[in-house]
Amino acid sequence: MLKHSKSKHSKKIHSSIDSPRKRLFLFILGGWLLLILSNQVGEFSLYQGAFVATYAVGIASIILLTGYSGQLSLGHGALMAVGAYAGALTINSLQWHPVVALIMATLVAGLFGLLLGGAVARFSGPYLAGTTLALAIALPSLANQFPILGGEQGLAFDVGASPARFGDDFSPYKWFFWIATLAALIIIWFVANIAASRFGRTFRAMRDNPIAAQLCGVNVARQKVTAFAISSGVAGLSGGLLVMLITGVSPSVFPLSLSLLLLSGAVVTGLYNLKGVILGGLVLVAIPEIAESLVTRIGGSENVANSLPGFLVSALLILAVMFTPNGPEHIFKRKH
């Protein structure tokens, strides 16, 4: 069983991502294309593109934890909140550069994930799901308790104007897009490398059969914490990017539904394959737009307009589980 699924997965990895050098080249090429693209499209598209990149980072963190290492987290919104608040404090209190703030968001959330993972990663299945679910509702509400975190109003998160050398007509949206996209490219490249490395193989072995993995000398407890910490760090960066785009951080930015939305994005585009993350981000950004245009075209009431996005995401989630349980690409290569 284990041998079978492992060989199947390793084959997939080798066919999709050949060598680290080729992967790096692809990412640089992708970045360059996006750079050209950013000069061609309008302000609003740039802003939405930045959201796509942000969600893609969040989805990558879920894929790393749930898809690769088999730990179901329902509380990534809380980890994003940790990163977002860490970033906001770095900017507001220490007056450091926004890029440093985003790095701080990643590191602090990663550290938080390390501590939390040390406590919770040994819980199995539903116990971990329950704990992370409780975290998702507990942590953002805790922000109201500390005056330094700004209570319900929250904190400003201002990355400032773009550097002067980009010229005057360099809009803030383009600046957002550049930061978010660059961060997303770096982080997805990083996660892809982890997935293809010894760590990634260990994670998958541990997911498919923890006992067999332990017999092969994998320290399952430690590897689970490692996966949790890395995933938390990536989620923290995603949180930092998210509050950069909406220029402020407050508890209401991270409702329970955000955690579930990210999980939906990951499942819809294939929980076991990093290639889906951009698609996942696109889906999450596109669905409210599609819902809105549907409502204006059909002329639904206010109730329909409010409920349609949730309905579409959920319907997509159920359809994905029923028809393409292991990712959309399996539709095309079912026979082999």
Binding site: G67, V120, D208, V267, V313, S314
Partner: protein, 298 residues
């Protein structure tokens, strides 16, 4: 001193509602290994049914019965026409472990969206059948009302009925047997699939009752039961997910912790308290307080 007794009483009354939700989750988990996140949707949908019945007939009692029966029907329906096809379809690959969770989360979203379309997102309210004003003890009004007492009594009756059902009847034996070991139950002639659907129906009824007891103290809106789901789930995890006694004990522990913190420290700390209690219990006993012997591996 009065404050202390009030806190104990309100703890019991809110713990009772968490216990219903927690039992609803445990019933489904035991028989299908599914954490039924759609339970919040089912419960809120049945409460909306109760709300409609109240609008038509004006009687809370008819609405209560309608909600319980409606909850049972919806639960059975979801198992028969939603969960069973998904289990038949998703049988291979690593997704198997989380497919049920994801499916019920999707279902939750769909139910809440449909409710939003039909009834809107505004707060509705259900009038409590008995006074919701606090009792007057020696001139001071305490936070415990006749309605809270009614909640406590109703849940106690429901628990007794459930215990009788599970311990004294053949149906209860079939429910326990097919949860403990589906294969052997099948061999001894129990129709495991039908019994599982019955389990979902009982669970749906418990959710409906929870909704009708919970909403009169607050408002009814599509996400009204989400918090209750989270608390019910935490209570079930504290209790070990397998045992109904554990679910009730977990709910009471959680109810006490939450109400005492809300009374003596701050109401803003309710959610963090729930998280801390959960973590502390799981750190001491990683599979909950009342985790049974390993009948089958999860």
């Amino acid at each position: 001193m009065t404050q202390f007794f009030t806190a104990v009483l309100t703890s019991l009354s809110s713990g009772a509602i968490y216990a219903l939700m927690s039992i609803a989750l445990v019933l489904v988990w035991r028989s299908t290994r599914v954490v039924n996140f759609a339970q919040a949707g089912q419960a809120v949908l049945t409460t909306y049914i109760g709300y409609e019945v109240i609008q038509r007939t004006g009687s809370y009692w008819i609405a209560l019965v309608a909600a319980i029966i409606g909850g049972a029907i919806i639960g059975a329906f979801i198992d028969r026409f939603f969960m069973r096809p998904i289990f038949k379809r998703v049988t291979s690959g690593p997704i198997v472990l989380i497919a049920p969770v994801v499916a019920t989360l999707g279902l939750l979203g769909i139910i809440e969206a449909v409710i939003g379309v039909v009834w809107g997102l505004n707060n509705q309210s259900i009038e409590p059948p008995v006074s919701n004003a606090g009792f007057n003890v020696n001139g001071t009004v305490i936070a415990f009302s006749l309605f809270n007492a009614f909640v406590l009594g109703t849940v106690a009756i429901a628990m007794i009925l459930l215990t009788l059902l599970f311990q004294k009847t053949n149906i209860g034996l079939a429910l326990r047997a097919s949860a403990y070991s589906p294969e052997i139950s099948k061999l001894s002639g129990i129709r495991v699939d039908a019994v599982r659907t019955l389990g979902w129906a009982i669970s749906g009824a418990a959710g409906g009752l929870a909704g009708m007891l919970y909403v009169p103290s607050t408002y009814l809106f599509p996400n009204a039961m989400d918090v209750l789901l989270v608390f019910g789930f935490i209570a079930a995890v504290i209790g070990g997910l397998e045992s109904m006694v554990g679910a009730v004990v977990g709910a009471m522990v959680l109810g006490c912790a939450i109400n005492f913190v809300a009374t003596y420290i701050s109401t803003a700390l309710v959610f963090p308290t729930a998280f801390v209690v959960l973590i502390l219990v799981l750190l001491v006993r990683p599979s909950g307080l009342f985790a049974g012997k390993k009948g089958r591996s999860a």
